[in-house]
């Protein structure tokens, strides 16, 4: 028997949760084990990338626009990182106005660490797109993303 289709608001809620925190969408549809897996497997590269690169340049739309776009699929992580980045910009500006010499390597990683940080952050963001789509698929069809095409077609009603 085909299951009842969830409401649009329910799907939006699941999508938003999955966008905010990796795995939260799966948690909302009752897949707690998968929620933990998605959370760890996406948070780990994001946190690693940000720790290696530093928030100042690696969560800033002005310093690295396309990287920031790639990070946006994890809204709940990227927004605080962006706020930290702007706070650091303000702090550095204040120090410069006081006449202090600011060594940017205190805040920003350069090659080769910068390469690794970018790849980790961008990959984490793109992986969460997959997680969001999967959460939506499970919410709507009760099946993972790539199993939808295997679902048996609903039976035709008998001809009258």
């Amino acid at each position: 028997m085909p299951q009842q289709e969830p409401s649009t608001s329910r799907l939006v809620q699941v999508g938003l949760l999955a966008w905010l925190i990796p795995g939260a969408g799966h948690y909302a549809v009752g897949q707690k084990g998968l929620a933990a897996v998605f959370c760890v497997a996406i948070t780990l590269p994001y946190a690693t990338g940000l720790a290696i690169g530093g928030a100042k340049s690696f969560a800033s739309p002005t310093a690295n626009r396309w990287l920031f776009v790639a990070e946006l699929p994890i809204g709940g992580y990227t927004l605080p990182a962006y706020l930290l980045s702007t706070a650091l910009d303000r702090r550095i500006e204040t120090r410069r106005q006081r006449g202090e010499t600011v060594d940017l390597t205190e805040y920003v990683a350069y090659f080769p660490a910068a390469d690794v940080a970018q790849i980790y952050l961008a990959t984490a963001g793109l992986l969460n797109i997959l997680a969001i789509l999967d959460a939506l698929s499970r919410a709507q069809y009760g099946e993972p993303t790539f199993h939808r095409d295997r679902r048996p077609a609903p039976e035709e009603p008998p001809a009258a």
């Binding site: 084990g33 998968l34 897996v37 998605f38 497997a41 996406i42 780990l44 590269p45 690693t48 940000l50 720790a51 290696i52 690169g53 530093g54 928030a55 100042k56 605080p80 990182a81 706020l83 930290l84 706070a87 650091l88 303000r90 702090r91 550095i92 120090r95 202090e100 600011v102 390597t105 205190e106 805040y107 920003v108 990683a109 080769p112 660490a113 390469d115 690794v116 940080a117 790849i119 980790y120 990959t123 984490a124 992986l127 997959l130 997680a131 789509l133 999967d134 099946e143 993972p144 993303t145 790539f146 199993h147």
Partner: protein, 92 residues
């Protein structure tokens, strides 16, 4: 509320000896770049497989197979480019 907290966090480090995660970049050993492929690959394999399984118990074996597949594929690509590089050096 959040902004003063973050400013406080940012203020805690510059000029001081305290390194704060995400504020000050972690030291990165020069030889670590290639090895960083492995944990990222594991995460990619895990997420990719997690979006295909119905239950978590199906995940470990599928993830391991995908991890090995991607790793071997990337090693073959690297070897191919290395051979191409040698050929270019040899003939051009």
């Amino acid at each position: 509320m959040t902004a003063p907290l973050l400013t406080l966090l940012a203020d805690a480090t510059p000029g001081g000896s305290l390194a704060v995660l995400f504020v000050n970049p972690l030291p990165f050993p020069p030889g670590a770049r290639l090895w960083m492929l492995l944990p990222l690959l594991l995460c990619v394999a895990t997420v990719y497989r997690a979006s295909r399984v119905r239950q978590v118990r199906e995940l470990p074996l599928a993830t391991l197979l995908t991890f090995v597949n991607i790793l071997v594929g990337m090693l073959l690509i690297a070897a191919g480019f290395y051979v191409l590089h040698l050929l270019v050096l040899r003939f051009f």
